[in-house]
């Protein structure tokens, strides 16, 4: 009998989510620890920065990945295993740029490290091998002239 927690998005929609899935988010986990979970109460956690379409995608990712080992802390020596994106994630993130950035922002806000890392890698893959002009075209950025980095180290 797993507990259900209710998440309310910026457009007012309420999602019923397993606590196990919801606590993949560091933000929700901290909130629950601080506020405490009462069995009888129906807790509604409000997420004003996340729209319902994006929360749907985020929940889909966390449901699939909820049994993953948590990403290692920075200070532990670990086996640097493949830093490739797995095929499920790759297909999952075949969305338009706007949605991708919204997912990144949501993952950052909700503190879901695994999702943040994989989405950022996706964006990095979109940047690799491109000239600055191509990058601007891809991401629709206004042009700016500036000095570039060099080999500053001795």
């Amino acid at each position: 009998m797993s507990k259900i927690i209710k998440l309310q998005t910026s457009d007012g929609e309420i999602f019923d989510v397993d606590v196990e899935v919801a606590t993949c988010s560091g933000l929700i986990k901290t909130m629950l620890e601080v506020l405490g979970m009462d069995e009888n109460d129906e807790e509604i956690v409000s997420l004003p920065n996340v729209s319902s379409a994006i929360l749907k995608k985020v929940l889909e990712w966390t449901k699939y990945h909820k049994d993953d080992a948590p990403p290692p802390e920075v200070d532990e020596p670990t086996d640097k295993s493949s830093h490739e994106i797995c095929s499920w994630d790759y297909n999952f993130l075949k969305v338009d740029q706007g949605t991708l950035f919204e997912i990144i922002l949501a993952a950052n806000y909700l503190d879901i490290k695994g999702l943040l890392v994989v989405t950022c890698k996706t964006v990095a893959n979109m940047i690799k091998g491109k000239s600055p002009e191509n990058i601007r075209k891809t991401f629709n950025i206004k042009k700016w002239f500036y000095t570039c980095i060099g080999r500053e180290d001795a």
Partner: protein, 503 residues
């Protein structure tokens, strides 16, 4: 999407994205996109370098990433390498098979694009250098200068009853012009220049300064103590007699440039008069002061001497900012942390039995350590075979099939082999050079242990420094880990950087 992206993604997220990029051309392209990206790209670049420095000092964790290449130079050691801009150039090298029966030297030139981590072969025109190894490549003004090294030479030996392959040092100089992709040979003053390999060389003010090295003849050993200078413009070689105490004759030492007037030399192996074998490994550190017209060698005070006497005698050090870095496995007595058996192995005529040759620099007395068989349920890449059965003294053959377990008694003796490639702990020892020029002191520091592929080479590998990462290429792993036991035979290179750098 019509909105300006830079307004939607905050700096901290851009930094996570940039850390997934290699710190070369991709990051440079990002810094040219817009003002915000420029700011974040510069800070990411600096972050990678600073974190590597703190990793070397022992206050942060390093990690070693293995990059598997589909196209790469064939397995070889003692390659001459040089990092220029976004590329790592590699020339030549030698390959020795396990039984030392087959040996080859190369003269191909490759470059690795450090952004994409892919090797490309360069096909230059011009006068190709002879195939060689143990040489050095120095970059100067758009040219790569290749000097000396050893090449293989066929000679007839009455005692050994046939043709033998000797390695002899050479003294030719070749210059590779990067712009026009041509090799040019410099024949100008070859008659006076010594034939040396395993020397140290650095470039100072348009001049190559060469110290030490393995010189072949008895008389030439005295030459080893001099410093040779090659003026790149004019092609003149001069021998400098440096007065006062100087480092003894040595080779395989590491020489680095401190600035235009100072170079540092450390470690190496003493050359013993009259013999061709490796002498004593040495740990002393000298600096050559070239600021005055009369040059002077200064013996440096080494603070906290290195724990391992073999550290600077066989391994090449790499200059990372103000540090000179040497990589070393955590425990040189164990092989990969397995339980090790200590056995005495002799070479026998029957090739079916394993004859392990460890290079005499590491194990001169014939005691070898090999991993024992590990019975692990979760083995991957493990080849299990029955113990060697020397059936009636029949000549055996190596077990070629690596894809499934081999059971039962083979009609020919099979190889006793059971390896599981695991992670092994390494240290990065760094010599702090900050106070070298002013106070004549250097200090050893040890990093925290980091995990790396067990197959990280231990012999003849090349270490170079890219932007915020240390690159290990080439080299041969310990003989017992040679390719025939490796299901995946592709070439690898290793990148050591701070843990949080994701690429």
């Amino acid at each position: 999407m019509d909105e300006n992206m830079s307004k939607t993604l905050p700096d901290e997220i851009l930094e996570i994205i940039f850390r997934s990029l290699a710190p070369y051309s991709d990051l440079r392209s990002c810094s040219l996109v817009c003002k915000q990206w420029n700011r974040v790209a510069k800070s990411t670049y600096r972050y990678g370098i600073d974190k590597l420095y703190s990793g070397l000092r022992g206050s942060a964790l390093l990690q070693c990433t293995t990059q598997i290449h589909d196209i790469a130079p064939s397995r070889r050691s003692h390659v001459a390498t040089c990092v220029v801009g976004d590329y790592l150039y590699a020339f030549g090298g030698s390959f020795v098979d396990d039984y030392r029966d087959y040996r080859a030297a190369f003269n191909d030139l490759w470059k690795m694009n450090l952004s994409s981590r892919k090797w490309e072969r360069i096909i230059p025109t011009g006068q190709y250098p002879k195939p060689r190894f143990c040489a050095n490549l120095v970059h100067h003004d758009g040219n790569l200068i290749l000097y000396g090294g050893r090449m293989l030479h066929r000679s007839h030996s009455v005692l050994q009853g046939g043709i033998v392959l000797l390695s002899v040092p050479i003294n030719e100089i070749h210059v590779f012009q990067m712009e026009s992709c041509r090799w040019i040979s410099d024949y100008r003053t070859l008659d006076i220049v010594p034939h040396i390999s395993m020397y140290g060389v650095t470039e100072h003010k348009g001049m190559l300064v060469v110290t030490g090295g393995h010189i072949h003849s008895e008389a030439a050993i005295a030459e080893n103590e001099h410093v040779w200078c090659y003026c790149i413009e004019s092609g003149d070689w001069t021998k400098r007699d440096v007065e006062g105490p100087k480092p003894g004759p040595r080779r395989k030492h590491t020489q680095v440039k401190l600035d235009d007037d100072h170079l540092l030399l450390i470690g190496g192996v003493r050359i013993v008069r009259g013999t061709d074998n490796d002498g004593q490994p040495q740990n002393d550190c000298w600096m050559l002061d070239m600021s005055q017209p009369d040059w002077k060698w200064i013996l440096m005070t080494v603070d906290r001497p290195a724990e391992n006497s073999l550290l600077c005698s066989n391994h090449r050090g790499c200059k990372v900012g103000d540090n000179l870095v040497f990589l070393h496995p955590k425990c040189s007595m164990n092989i990969g942390g397995h339980r090790c058996g200590i056995i005495r192995v002799q070479r026998r005529r029957n090739p079916g039995l394993d004859a392990l040759h460890l290079p005499h620099a590491l194990e001169p007395h014939g005691i070898y350590r090999i991993p024992l068989e590990i019975n692990n349920q979760n083995d991957r890449n493990v080849i299990r075979a029955q113990p060697d059965v020397n059936v009636n003294g029949r000549r055996g053959e190596l077990c070629q099939d690596r894809t499934h377990t081999v059971r039962g008694v083979q009609p020919y003796p099979a190889v006793v082999r059971s390896y599981q490639f695991e992670k092994k702990e390494y240290f990065a020892y760094s010599l702090d050079l900050e106070e070298a020029i002013v106070k004549h002191t250097v200090r050893w520091r040890k990093s925290l242990p980091f995990w790396g592929d067990e197959r990280l080479p231990v012999l003849g590998f090349s270490v170079d420094y890219g932007a915020g990462e240390i690159i290990v290429t080439g080299g041969l792993p310990l003989p017992c880990f040679q390719s025939r036991c490796d299901v995946d035979n592709r070439e690898r290179s290793y990148f050591i950087a701070h843990k949080s750098v994701l690429s």
